[in-house]
Amino acid sequence: MTDWNAMSDADFRKEVRGFFEAEYPEELRNLPHRPKFAEIEHWHRKLHAKGWVAPAWPAEYGGMGLNAAKLLIFYEEQQRWGVNRGRDMGVQMVGPLVIKFGTQEQKDYWLPRILSCEDIWCQGYSEPGAGSDLANLRTRAETDGDDFVINGQKIWTTMAHDATHIFMLVRTDQATPKKQQGISFLLAPMDQPGVEVRTITTLSGETEFCEVFFDDARTPRANLVGELNKGWTMAKALLSFERIFIGAPNLAQNALGQLESFARGRGAFEDPVFRDRFAQAALDVEDHAALYSRFADQLKRGETLGADVSMLKIWVTECFQRITELMIEAAGPDGGTVGPLQVGNVNVDVLASFYKARPTTIYGGSNEIQRNILSKAVLGLPG
């Protein structure tokens, strides 16, 4: 077992970069869509054989056991080479949940199946009436013998049509004084008569998101993770690392690189107005990266991040959107054209980038919710 944390940052980066560059299939680099598992299965097998499926998990559960500093390097290299994250809901969410709150039986059963992708997970949080106000969720689970019986509906469930299991927040007590109480974490199989999945076509024509309907669906009571009615607190505890990850500079940096090569090819830099707006965007990305390093250094020193980390997400997602809007401007009369636009020897899919940037200010806690959090938890504003 390699102790990655004992390596120098530079050596570790070299090791990770070397593996991605040598082994990652060229045709999967910078995939513009979320792949189904079958499309990336050959890559997943390699990663599994290498033992690199779960960089953040402790080594005793089959992870790499990386500390925060090494983890950031791993993700930076992954994004640098355009390595697809794969179907990582199990690794990113279910694993940490089970490791932190699960029983020994749950760990022994679920964790190896996540690593091998025998089970492919989707996340059942949002509902039609529970988006930003997630605690308003109504999907309920009632005990019936050794099972829970689930009724209700989830929505915006990413890739549910290509998942074998769902981890979900459900209401297990209807009569609590606060709506944050009475919520539990359940794991449930998708392949059963009571579960129906319908894909949602997004405005870009993709079908990554789904609605999932539960009509007397069943899951064993053994699939309750953690204490009954304590799911809300657990869900919050799971978000700590995600909060810096969602504010990482990479999406905006990659888009800026695309914008630059596209704009250069199209001669957009001849326009002084465009030049200034490009410079503004580029400096927005550079200075965001400086702020990101400040938070990353905090993590590296072993400190816990405060609520102020939310500012990374606000800044970088809005910056990402402006960059993709500039791409459309640079495309001129081709700004409404679907598919890659060829400029010299590069292909840039201007619309795909634009679409990709839109939901970033909505998901992971909309930017308005992030502003609410900052105003109360950081600025101490009343009400």
Binding site: R275, D276, F278, A279, Q280, A282, L283, D284, E286, D287, H288, A290, L291, S293, R294, D308, M311, I314, W315, E368, R371, N372, L374, S375, K376, V378, L379, G380, L381, P382, G383
Partner: protein, 359 residues
């Protein structure tokens, strides 16, 4: 350590209230304060230890400049640390003036820009020959209280750096009043005697580097100014009540406050990073690009924060009585001096293109 001692020094002296009094008294600075600042090592922060300084880098200078900005102190820190000492320590580090500047015994203003017929910047034409200056210089910060002027002029064999005493023959100083009560000097020389300190290509190179340093330090000063302006505004919206509630309880106010806070933090991180990188960078072009990055960011942030701060204060924000007005006025001056954000984005982009083409 440096930050705490500078902050304590300025707070003990009266914070922004002291700056207001100086403005009301005619817009100069306080010679006693300059000596105290010198004792704390402020002016010599980037001067090598063998020349009586602290021997620290620009990043340390930035820490001090941020503190100056927080209390909008009128004393010429950027002028001295960035410009006058920036020139002297590069061109004539053993000159007696070095010590006097570091000790706060004197202040020298630096004159290098010139005004063209349309009022905008122009190519230099001010001449130095036979020990005398003829021509004019514009935008000389600190001209009002300076004991003398370091003038970059055109000599018979290229650029020269000369020292002219304040009050020398044939020197007239027109003071143009600035929004913050300070004065920007317009100098004209007709056969003004001046002593040569250095000449040749080194003068041009040292001037470019001194301007880079001053630009970066002015950016740091704007960061400190923006932070304090935001704090003042945050306090105000927490206490001002309308509709029986603090106005800071309204979501529209909260979200604006968050945006200013984020802008402030991005500016602080970006500017600090740029100054730190300038300390490790030796290529003047790369240093210029970093200085432009810093000033572009700092000006964008300071403009946004001080202007929105007035709006969040409501009608009292438009009065001279409230502290926030001083911050807006100081930000106007610091933004325009040494180039605003649009100007520095242009320089930054051009430098980036040049580097790209060279690779």
């Amino acid at each position: 350590m440096l930050r705490e001692s500078a902050r304590t020094l300025f707070e003990r002296a009266g914070g922004s209230g002291r700056s207001r009094k100086l403005r009301d008294a005619g817009g100069g600075w306080d010679a006693g304060m300059i000596r105290e600042m010198a004792e704390a090592g402020i002016f010599g922060v980037t001067v090598p230890e063998e020349n009586g300084g602290l021997g620290m880098g620009l990043a340390a200078g930035g820490v001090i400049a941020e503190e100056v900005g927080r209390v909008i102190a009128p004393e010429p820190v950027v002028v001295t640390v960035g410009l006058s000492l920036g020139l002297l320590r590069r061109l004539c580090p053993d000159h007696a003036m070095m010590e006097q500047l570091v000790e706060g015994a004197t202040v020298l203003a630096v004159a290098w820009q010139e005004r063209g017929p349309n009022g905008g910047p122009a190519e230099p034409s001010c001449r130095y020959a036979d020990g005398k200056l003829t021509g004019s210089k514009g935008w000389v910060a600190g001209a009002g209280g300076a004991r003398g002027f370091l003038v970059v002029a055109e000599g018979d064999a290229g650029p020269v750096l000369v020292l002219a005493e304040a009050g020398a023959d044939g020197l007239s100083v027109e003071e143009r009043r600035q929004a913050d009560g300070s004065a920007m000097g317009e100098l004209s020389f007709s056969g003004t005697p001046a002593g040569e300190l250095a000449s040749g290509g080194a003068v041009r190179a040292a001037l470019a580097e001194a301007v880079n340093d001053a630009t970066a330090l002015a950016a740091a000063e704007l960061v400190g100014l923006s932070e304090r302006a935001f704090e003042i505004t945050l306090d105000y919206i927490k206490t001002r009540e309308q509709f029986d509630k603090p106005i800071g309880s309204f979501q529209v106010i909260q979200h604006r406050a968050v945006d200013l806070n984020v802008m402030c933090e991005v500016a602080q991180s970006g500017v600090r990073e740029a100054l730190g990188l300038m300390d490790r960078e030796t290529d003047p072009k790369a240093r210029a690009r970093l200085a432009s990055r810093a000033k572009a960011r700092a000006v964008t942030a300071a403009k946004k924060i001080t202007r929105d701060a007035i709006q969040l204060h409501g009608a009292v924000g438009y009065t001279d009585e409230f502290e926030i007005a001083l911050y807006l006025n100081r930000a106007l001056v610091l933004s325009a001096w040494l180039g605003d954000d649009a100007y520095h984005r242009r320089l930054w982009f051009e430098a980036r293109e040049e580097e790209g083409a060279a690779q």
